[in-house]
């Protein structure tokens, strides 16, 4: 993973290194690793609430025969494959444009684009729901612009419901990812740009051949964290499509049921089955681990 990191010649046991990472590692061991092992242990148990008993691999067997789990897995993948590339591309382009010192109102624009991720989830949910209802603002605008003849069934059709969720997540997190790119762009030496500009390299080519390679570590960072975020997608699907009462489907035909939402339901909404919920969460861990490995691997390959 670190083919390019600096490896100074140092003694085997580096006191300073351990002092620097020590506090963090100790806290992570107590507050992350311990609970993780605990939940791993739970994933081999089955039963409701406190009435757990050892079940061996029964939960894994159940996974493969559980239509709702398979549905959640499919939905999660759809969200991941479509949403992450769209959002990161948008964030990168926006950051590059806003990094240009000639652009006026940069501060205002930056703040505006960052706003969505600080807006509270409650307000955001109420708003998105009211904008996307059958006779809401979005359909009215689309009809008036002549883009569609009949309102799009955002809340009642599985396909459009997924589109709506993707719009919502992209809206909320593009500005957030933009921040990381903007911060990283400060590390790029302006003189390199100037040289390229004087040599007549067009803007687009400068972006692709200079900016993107230099941002690679941060692009990798945002890709991995967005992958994690999307595979753990919960807020949007639970609040925007959540039914008003006890049960309720996650979107039309459960089209917005994600793995995290399913885990949440198994733990808190349904009769609590903590063992099975833990098993489903290890499916996410496995998927993220594989995808992150591929992303690190891809990033390293191109470096060489």
């Amino acid at each position: 993973m670190s083919a390019i990191s600096t490896r100074p010649k140092r003694p085997r046991f580096d006191v300073n290194g351990w002092l620097f990472v020590g506090p963090a590692l100790a806290l992570i061991a107590i507050f992350m690793v311990f609970p993780i092992l605990h939940s791993l242990w739970m994933s081999f148990q089955s039963g409701l609430g406190m009435r757990l008993s050892f079940a061996g691999l029964k939960n894994i067997y159940r996974l493969f025969n559980d239509p709702l789990f398979l549905m959640a897995l499919t939905n999660t993948f759809i969200f991941f494959l479509v949403q992450v590339p769209v959002m990161l591309t948008l964030a990168l382009i926006t950051a590059a444009l806003l990094n240009n010192p000639d652009i006026k109102f940069r501060g205002v624009l930056r703040t505006a684009i960052f706003l969505p991720c600080v807006t509270s989830l409650v307000a955001y949910t109420v708003l998105f729901k009211s904008m996307f209802v059958a006779n809401g603002l979005v359909n009215t605008v689309l009809i008036n612009l002549g883009i569609v003849n009949v309102g799009i069934p955002w809340m009642t059709d599985p396909f459009w419901c997924r589109v709506m969720i993707i719009i919502a997540i992209t809206w909320r997190w593009t500005g957030y990812n933009m921040i990381f790119y903007l911060a990283a762009m400060q590390n790029i030496d302006r003189s390199v740009y100037e040289a390229a500009r004087i040599d007549g390299v067009p803007t687009w080519a400068r972006f692709v051949s200079l900016t993107v390679p230099m941002l690679k570590p941060v692009i990798l960072f945002t890709t991995v964290t967005s992958t994690i975020g999307t595979l753990q997608l919960f807020d949007e699907v639970s609040t925007i499509t959540g039914g008003g009462s006890a049960g309720g489907a996650a979107g039309p035909g459960n089209s917005a049921l994600t793995l995290s939402l399913y885990i949440y339901n198994l733990t808190f909404k349904f009769a609590p089955n903590l063992g099975y919920a833990a098993t489903v969460s290890y499916v996410i861990v496995l998927l993220v681990a594989i995808l992150s490995f591929l992303q690190f691997y891809a990033a390293r390959e191109r470096k060489a």
Binding site: V122, A123, V126, N187, F234, T267
Partner: protein, 274 residues
Amino acid sequence: MISYGFKQRIASVVVYIFLAVMAFLSIFPFLWMVIGATNTTSDIVKGKMTFGEAVVANATTFFTQVNAPLIFWNSAKITIIATVLTLLISSLAGYGFEIFSSRFREKLYTLMLLSLMIPFAALMIPLFMLMGKFGLINTHIAVVLPTVASAFIIFYFRQSTKAFPHELRDAARVDGLKEWQIFFLIYMPVMRSTYAAAFIIVFMTAWNSYLWPLIVLQSNETKTITLVISSLGSAYYPDYGVVMIGTVLATIPTLFVFFAMQRQFVEGMLGSVK
């Protein structure tokens, strides 16, 4: 030459239109929230898009239902302590992972990244049991502790440190600076745009954090603003006007921090290096 200049102008018009559309789409919900704070619930539900007259009534209800000074103080306390500790401990580790070497470095790092991957819902119950054992249920320290060593921020700092010029470090060593001095006197100032971005993110995450405070805080006296807004918004027939006032107030601190910190992006780091 004329056509080049013309092309440039077209390009910059496209750029402005793109940015303006992005900005408008981003700001619209916030604007709607501000408008909502001045309207009655039935107007909000009807989708009224103009300012109304209910702002005083909404604010009055909010401040009578909510012990605002205490709640905001709770949020501020948790957020500030969490932000300072997280930035310190996690940037130390991010820097350490990149700079120092050990046989176990990459193994530990991978293990740490794995901890990011498990959904929090699965960890909540074990973590709650742990806090119960420590006797920390319903304390603010229990809210802060699990977030301080953030694998996410460590990851961010390590990735950003890759751009930290190691000539600076070597020069400092030659000058006889100790490792901790290099970190505090050279690394921190040079990386300030990274710190600024991390500050914004950590502050925002701590201020808006919801799931874990919800589980671990049990009384009205310890609740944070996020929890209060959530409970206001969940009545059988919620008073959205009051919810909107609450959300607008709750958004202001993060916006303020963003305004204050974003200057670091403009100034950049290169000036200080040279």
